[in-house]
């Protein structure tokens, strides 16, 4: 009986949301009907899931087509575009750290939290979103994690259980692949020394901590540096490496949809907030805000989390996550925010990165990359 009620309520809410959206365009009647929303996102399985859970339903509800462009993160492009006054995107799907950096550089429009829809039970958005989700220029829509995945067949009779195993090529021999950025790698390197997660960024703020971390990463033999998010999956699939860092969503896609013999090591996962942000000088900022309201509703968040295992940023949405619509996999176990996966989860310190990334990057380049150019990303 309760289930029926629940379903009824969801249907009603859906209708209500639909109605709101239908009514919305009339407010902006002077908007040309053919105007399309141009979204900059990350491509791959992530974009496919967004297409199915967010973009298509948005077009269906409002008639506004959504065009998607791809990027690999970074705000250099945005900085250039804003400076030239020629911004090609209305909405950017960016990590919170980059959104904060961009916001500080005045590259983004402020986003008031009033534009967000309340939870289905009426809880105001401010209380429904997780801590740190609502920022001046960005709104967190999901939590993803950078994790290590390993080939199940690489270490007969053994399984890596701790992030320290990433650096232990004695017990877990074989090539590794890591992202060509200081972020995440430095955190894992220090974790492998037994540093508690609460102290990671304090210690990384010292030269001693950085050298310890670089030393650990430098000790890896046969290391591939990757840049694009789908590279680690490919390297694992082609057996080029036995352990690789990567986004949990991509690994999930490879495991479930492509039956790749890999497994995720959740220990030491580094969680990041993925946000929506509207660049300055965007052509259609109003449509972008309408989309944000639509896409961050509990229903749409839960729909996205059923397709790709990113933790919703709303408490009400997390409760609604169920099984994958096609494969029937219980998605709750695969989202980074599930209690089983969060025992030693680090939340990436955006403020720290926002204000120190140039220096950290320089140290990283000097310490690790100069002599490794040749073994870089293929």
């Amino acid at each position: 009986m309760a289930r029926v009620d629940h379903g009824m309520r969801r249907a009603c809410m859906g209708a209500l949301v639909g109605l709101t959206i239908m009514l919305a365009p009339s407010t902006y009647g002077d908007e040309p009907a053919a105007a399309a929303l141009t979204v900059l996102s990350w491509g791959g399985a992530y974009e496919r899931a967004q297409q199915r859970a967010l973009f298509d339903p948005f077009t269906e509800a409002t008639g506004t087509p959504v065009e998607v462009e791809q990027y690999d993160g970074g705000i250099a492009e945005l900085r250039r575009a804003v400076a030239e006054g020629d911004v090609a995107w209305d909405l950017i799907d960016m990590t919170r750290s980059q959104a904060k950096a961009a916001c500080a550089e005045n590259l983004l429009d402020p986003l008031p939290s009033e534009l967000l829809a309340p939870a289905p039970d009426g809880t105001p958005a401010e209380r429904d979103f997780i801590d740190g989700a609502l920022n001046r220029c960005s709104i967190t829509h999901s939590v993803f994690a950078t994790v290590v995945a390993y080939r199940r067949d690489a270490f007969p009779g053994r399984r890596p259980t701790s992030i320290a195993d990433l650096f232990d090529q004695q017990r877990f021999p074989g090539p590794r692949a890591l992202q060509r950025t200081p972020a995440v790698n430095l955190e894992w390197a220090l974790l492998s020394y037994g540093v508690p997660k609460e102290e990671i960024y304090r210690l990384l703020s010292t030269r001693r901590g950085l050298s310890l971390a670089f030393e650990r990463i430098d000790s890896l033999e046969n290391l591939h540096w990757w840049k694009a998010g789908d590279t680690p999956v490919r390297l694992l699939a082609e057996n080029e490496v036995v352990m690789a860092s990567g986004y949990n969503g991509r690994f999930f896609d490879a495991m479930i949809n492509r039956d790749l013999p890999i497994e995720i090591l959740w220990d030491g996962q580094v969680q990041e907030h993925e946000t929506w942000a509207v660049p300055r000088h965007a052509a259609h900022p109003d449509i972008a805000r309408d989309f944000i309201r639509f896409a961050t509703s509990s229903e749409r968040q839960a729909a996205l989390a059923r397709l790709i295992p990113y933790g919703p940023s709303r408490h009400s949405a997390t409760l609604q996550v169920t099984t994958h619509p096609d494969s029937g996999v219980d998605m709750r176990l695969h989202i980074p925010t599930h209690p089983l996966n969060t025992e030693r989860a680090i939340t990436k310190d955006d403020d720290w990165y926002a204000r120190s990334h140039t220096r950290i990057n320089d140290y990283f380049q000097d310490a690790l990359l100069d002599d490794r150019e040749d073994s870089g990303d293929r």
């Binding site: 609460e198 102290e199 010292t206 720290w352």
Partner: protein, 570 residues
Amino acid sequence: MLRFLGLVVLGALIGGLAALAAVGFVSAVLWLNDLLLISPRGRMMFAHPEALAIATVLVPALGGLVVGQLHRAIRERRPHTPADVIAAVQTRRGRLPARAGFLSAVSGLVSLGAGASVGQYGPLVHLGATLGSLGAKLLKLGRSDDNVTIACGVAAAIATAFHAPLAGIVFAHEVILRHYALRAFAPVAAAAIVGHVIATNVLSQGALFHVADTAVPQPWEFAAFIVIGGLGALVAGAYMHAILAVGRWAARLPVVPSLRPALAGAALGLVALWVPDILGMGQETLRFATIEGAFGGFELVIVLVLKLTATALCIGMGFGGGVFSPALVIGTLFGALCGTLIGDTGLAGDTFVFYAVCGMVAVTAPVIGAPLTSLLIVFELTGSYVLTTAALASVTLASPIAAQLFGRSLFDIQLANRGLDLSAGRGRALLQSARLKHLLSQDCVTLNPRDSIDDAVASLGHHGHGEAYLVDDKGRYHGSVTLADLEVMRGRGQGQRRVRDCPRTPRPVLGPEASVWSAMHQLQDVTGEAIAVVDDKADDAFLGVVYESSIARAYLQYSEELRREEHGTG
């Protein structure tokens, strides 16, 4: 019974207040450190290297300037420390001065915030104690209850700051109360629990040291831990004496006392440009010292010596702040050094962190005079029983050796230098600090030396006393005579002679500042009614007498109060 339960509730209340104060203090220090570019995090997030270098020197110097001015508002011209709390409790004086207490807390806050190499637990303990004493004062409670509420504040502060309620309870007993009574235990425990609950809900601080997988040391390594304990006692001694020596040296400096901390701050900042590890409490340094390979062996020696010197400089020159956190860092560095040396022999396994923790305990336990507390801190922070037993091995030698060579703790040495000797226990300290003044009686026969013996006998007979005191016109004391001697002279027909010709009984006299303890000792050599109290600084002015019976009564009364406080149950 009701009164006892009331005391427990009061303990919990004070615990809550002290814990909130501690939380506020700790958060404020962290905030200041980030803001003032002291914490590594703040420094890393700051983009301009030149400005950073200037701030490194300027911030501690200016902090020192502020601290120096603050101390001018305190009567003793120095921040109050746990030593003052110990003195107040051990002598049952209680009633910690609120104003000086809060000024000392602010001084500690500014010192820590500005990056002085001092600890935060000293100010926290003193702040908790001040709050406790204030509670007792407001409720007009007696001295025993005042002691208990002070202990409550202390326990809550430690429980909150370390997330270690057991260590808080034991610290209050081991260092502050120095006795164990159920009457005190229950309120102190209540305070510690409240502190712990508040800490776990408000402070999201990680464990001080985290031990991933506990390798078990080989049997012979326990012998090494014991030896580290012995050597650690020497490091602790060097640390304590460096602080005291800088204090003595600073007193001779031709610099106004209120400017000395600024001088120390500038010196600290200059050295920190080269070795930033010495700035502030050094939590990062402490963590690195538990990681094998984070420091080279030589580097450990340098940082250890510099940290020790920097702390001695900061505290000796008058910064506010504790000695515990720097001792933790110095001890851990020392332990890491031992671990590195033993690791170089290739005999030890994966037990580096054991050496670091053993060194830490071996240095801190003697400095604060609290071996059990140090052990419990290790236990509660690591939850590792193996690590605690290793620390136990180390503290076995550390504490007694340091106590033999240097004293029970830095606090005790400081108090002894100020004239309060706690080495023979509380009873003696209490009697030594109890003044005779209130026992002084004017109910005695005084005679002018020129009075005749007949008159003297008559006067004594009239007042019913057996002794008289000779006091001249100027009020000077000239010894005492007994009725028996006067009678002997009168019997010989010398009744018209002057009293001053009568043989005087050699009697010790007491000064106006004499303690009950010294009076009790004088009594052993005296047979008579009373002892004269004479101010030899005011030309032997006669102030009155103290009756033997009242000395004995006072002695019994103090002993009884102590007995009730220490052995009573409710």
